[in-house]
Amino acid sequence: MMLSLFIDFKSPAAYLAMKPTLNLIASTGLAVTWLPFAAKQPVIPIEKHDETKGETHRRVRAEQRQQMHVLYADLSNTEMHFPTQATSTDLALNVLANLTQDPTAFIARAFSAYWVQEQDLNDPAVVEQLVREVGLPFTAELLLPTAMDACLDQALEKGVFDVPAFVFADKVFIGREHMPWLRELATSFTPQEDAQT
């Protein structure tokens, strides 16, 4: 049984899900396919004097969610700096879609580049450097959006609309808060059962 895991480097939730996800993989031996999904990341709106109720709700929600991410990052000793502007990570996501080798090292490096070093993951030179740093061969084709459509189709077909999205045993779980259920599912599939699926 394969876990499909949709991520975006600019998602704070996906970044904070890395440690528990890698723990899950290591402890269960689960096979994983990492897939890119460019998720919208709302920037905290500036408070206006004439806000509608809906605007106030969205602002308060965005503020509280950021504070929550910072709280859990602090508690887990995870360094994390929020960007002040909305940014794109499309080129790094293209690389993830195109890589034919194990992308785990690249993913970890790209998350760190974005959240710790505050690098631009839509800058070709930066992304090339990241690929080379983890010992993977770089070609310009890695930066092309060739495989992104197929990834997006997979996401939409499965009902993925945000990240991190864990798709396992025909179930979609969005967010690392589902880790107990995912672990239960992962441990319930023995290699023998897996061979029959």
Binding site: T52, H57, R58, Q64, Y72, L75, S76, F173, E177, P180
Partner: protein, 236 residues
Amino acid sequence: MEHYTSPLIASAGQPVIVYIDIKSPYAFVALKPTFALERELGVLFDWRPLTLDIPSYLGSARKQAGKVVESTRSASQWTGVKYAYRDARRYVERQGYILKGTEKIWDSSIANIGILWAVEHDRDKLEAYLEAVYPRFWRRELDIEDASVIVRCLEEAGISATGFIEFQQGIGRQVHDQLQSQLHTNGIYGVPTYVFDQHILFGREHLPLLRWHLLGKPGDAPDMAYEISHPVQGAK
């Protein structure tokens, strides 16, 4: 009702505040684990109603015979709403309950004022009141906009409802409305929300962190998690 003029944000030493709304599927799923945590730690939380104004931020919709007949929701709002219901349903089913999608966005204020009443009159029976309301509402068997229905739920929980009808039109309504108007300014926007030691955390995934806080922060802090119960046979 002086209790509710206290600050909305719990500071050190104050009981944990829990905000819920009868019409929220996520609050429904959070009930059992939250009451279980109260029992586990031998504490009483300060339960309060937050009547969500869903159309103001998530659009509105009305269904008839399973079909959407009115909607102001965008496609992405629908995707999020549908996932939220599916997600809540699979977890609540593990607790032995049934969750059917609602046909409209209900005005849950009377049932939520029932929370204020239960807390004021018989706090020990709050769980029984919520047990009388939530499961049946989510099986589409309860008209929570009818005050007489809420009276019956209170009585079924063993709470005297004498005076509730006047309460939900008078002081209960005033306190309820006053609470709603203060929520956004205090950083509260959804349910269930847990307020403790200056933290405002939305969602039952924070219960492990809340437990860790209340136990005096032993060892490493836990990550967020939906703690799972083993599947229960025979849904109610």
